[in-house]
């Protein structure tokens, strides 16, 4: 039966991907259109393929990835936590401060989210990789490798989030610590003695080999701790990892550069940014917060960046990409198909004052639409009077730009300036040329489409603005410091008037 399903899926893939999207820098999107169905699939194919793509987003598909944690030994490791070696390692990773003393606590520390229950509907019905609700968290990937089961982390680690108790695919994880995990690994993995590791965890010879491979690959990884929880340092990690490799077209491993990495400004300049939401992909023709990827499928680029940051051999990666075209297309189809959470999925429709929203729409048209796009609301459609209280609030069409713009509106330049530190090295790679990915530094950031903007706080590329109220406050009067907290409770963690973290903002106070 399983073989039949696999055969059917294989045939669907072969038929489905007859259309290849235009990933060139010349591509344009007709205003009012979008690329939600990026491969022009039939409805049936679209459902099937995006479900498979979601699974690749949840369980990392790159089997040649550079860093795997031997899974079974890790489980045994935590069982043996009273052992002297374990105590030493746990002290290295700072158990007291991290609270990591089990596999589950590792997932929680990392900021991973639980799979939604079986009764979830709509965009919240996230497929289970094995067909039943997993006991691990979204993003945790236990991969069958030739060395045994290896633990790694997938796209969903950063690109899924807990929103008041519900996991949302494609939403930026507000509390992810992926880059901190790399930092931690660099600090303690090199000191794990293989023999003792094997004796204490019961690792097989192959699992020891996996550990040794991870240790070796970590030498080609340069890490930077994010400035604040919720920010990502993948960009400097790519730049600093490239600086630890050879200058050839495959950025081959180099003992010399591992010991003496080339100078790179991102070892000290801050270029942190938050991972982007996925549902904006469908409107865009260039990628990343600064729009610096001007050509190429962003999912390919994502894999390349991930793997440079994991010390992977680029020849092996290139071969994996060539052999895994359907996997990449499925994941691409899924990412482009994601949709934002609606306010009314979490709050009653009558919490929206329709008259005020309509007035706000006019202000938006005058002040925001030129950059952020035009949103046609259901309340403006001919049959609006027949619509329910929920449906009347929906957006029925978005007109974004033909070509994704980049604007400099005076926000912090660190992130876009950071791209200069590695763009040319990245473009020179043979794998970049094969993927047709081109990175070009920009001056400014993409004014993003605003679908689901209420859930995307804190705002700006660097998370520096905690609420929409703050965004509409003169910069010198904005909140100077705040805490980046998870979105666990609608009432405790969220200000539904100002939209964002709960802060004191003057213009919504009656006495202001």
């Amino acid at each position: 039966m399983k073989k039949l399903i696999l055969l059917s899926l294989f045939m669907t893939s072969q038929m489905a991907f007859s259309y290849e999207p235009d990933w060139s820098r010349n591509t344009q999107i007709k205003p009012g259109d979008n690329r939600e169905n990026i491969y022009n699939l039939s409805e049936e194919e679209f459902q099937e393929i995006t479900q498979e793509g979601y699974k690749h987003a949840l369980v990392y598909p790159v089997t040649v990835s550079g860093l795997f944690i031997p899974y079974e030994p890790m489980v045994n490791f935590f069982k043996e936590k009273d052992n002297n070696l374990m105590k030493l390692i746990l002290s290295k990773i700072g158990e007291k401060t991290t609270g990591i003393d089990s596999v589950e606590s590792l997932y929680q520390w990392l900021g991973l989210n639980k799979y939604n229950d079986e009764d979830a509907i709509g965009i919240y019905r996230i497929p289970y990789p094995e067909g039943y609700k997993p006991d691990y968290y979204m993003g945790a990937s236990i991969v069958e490798t030739k060395w045994g089961k290896g633990l790694t982390f997938s796209c969903a680690t950063c690109h899924s989030a807990n929103l008041f108790g519900t996991s949302v695919m494609g939403l930026t994880n507000k509390v992810v610590k992926a880059n901190r995990l790399f930092d931690m690994a660099k600090k303690f993995v090199p000191f794990v003695p293989p023999k003792m590791f094997q004796n204490l965890t019961g690792a097989t010879d192959e699992e020891v080999e996996m550990l040794l491979r991870t240790k070796q690959n970590l030498k080609s990884v340069g890490v930077v701790k994010p400035q604040v929880l919720g920010l990502d340092t993948s960009l400097p990690q790519v730049a600093l990892s490239l600086a630890r490799r050879g200058k050839d077209e495959y950025a081959s491993k180099s003992k010399f550069y591992q010991t003496f990495p080339r100078q790179n400004i991102l070892s000290h300049e801050v270029a942190d940014s938050k991972p982007a939401v996925w549902w904006n992909l469908k409107y865009k023709t260039r990628w990343l917060s600064d729009g610096s990827i001007v050509a190429g499928n962003p999912i390919f680029t994502n894999f390349l960046w991930n793997e440079l940051g994991r010390g992977t051999d680029l020849r092996e990666l290139e071969q994996w990409m060539k052999d895994s075209q359907d996997t990449i297309r499925e994941l691409t189809a899924a990412a482009f198909s994601t949709k934002p959470p609606a306010w009314t999925d979490f709050f009653p429709a009558d919490s929206i004052n329709l008259a005020a929203a309509k007035r706000g729409e006019q202000i938006f048209k005058n002040r925001c639409q030129k950059c952020h796009g035009q949103y046609t609301k259901a309340w403006s459609t001919p049959n609006a009077e027949e619509l329910s209280q929920v449906d009347i609030l929906k957006t029925v069409n978005v007109k974004y730009h033909k070509v994704t713009p980049v604007k400099d509106v005076g926000t912090d330049p660190g992130r876009y300036e950071g791209t200069k530190a590695f763009a040319s090295a990245l473009n020179e790679l043979k794998i970049s040329k094969w993927m047709k990915t081109v990175v070009e530094p920009q001056k400014g950031y993409v004014p993003p489409p605003l679908d689901g903007i209420w859930s995307r706080y804190p705002y700006l590329h660097n998370n520096s603005i905690p609420t929409l109220c703050d965004l509409m406050t003169p910069p010198n009067k904005r909140t100077k410091t705040f805490y980046q907290i998870p979105a666990e409770s609608k009432t405790e963690d969220f200000d539904s008037e100002c939209v964002g973290f709960r802060l004191e903002i003057r213009f919504l106070r009656k006495d202001a």
Binding site: G230, V270, R359, K377, L460, L468, D470, T481, Y483, D511
Partner: protein
């Protein structure tokens, strides 16, 4: 009406060092996205606080 906890009113369990956001730090600045958006070219405010509340109400529906 002061409804929102601020500064040291943030619950202790949320006051983690790693979660503390200081906008005066390089790379974390909260500048921009204001002039010529919410003001005219001379810096005069274009929106009243009621306008801003309405705009937020609209943004909630996107």
């Amino acid at each position: 009406m002061c409804r929102f906890p601020v500064g040291n009113k943030v619950p202790k369990k949320r006051r983690l060092k790693e979660a503390f956001f200081n906008t005066s730090k390089k790379g974390l600045r909260n500048t921009g996205h204001y002039r010529r958006i919410f003001t005219d070219k001379n810096g005069n405010e274009l929106l009243t606080k009621e306008n801003k509340k309405d705009l937020i109400m609209f943004l909630k529906t996107l």
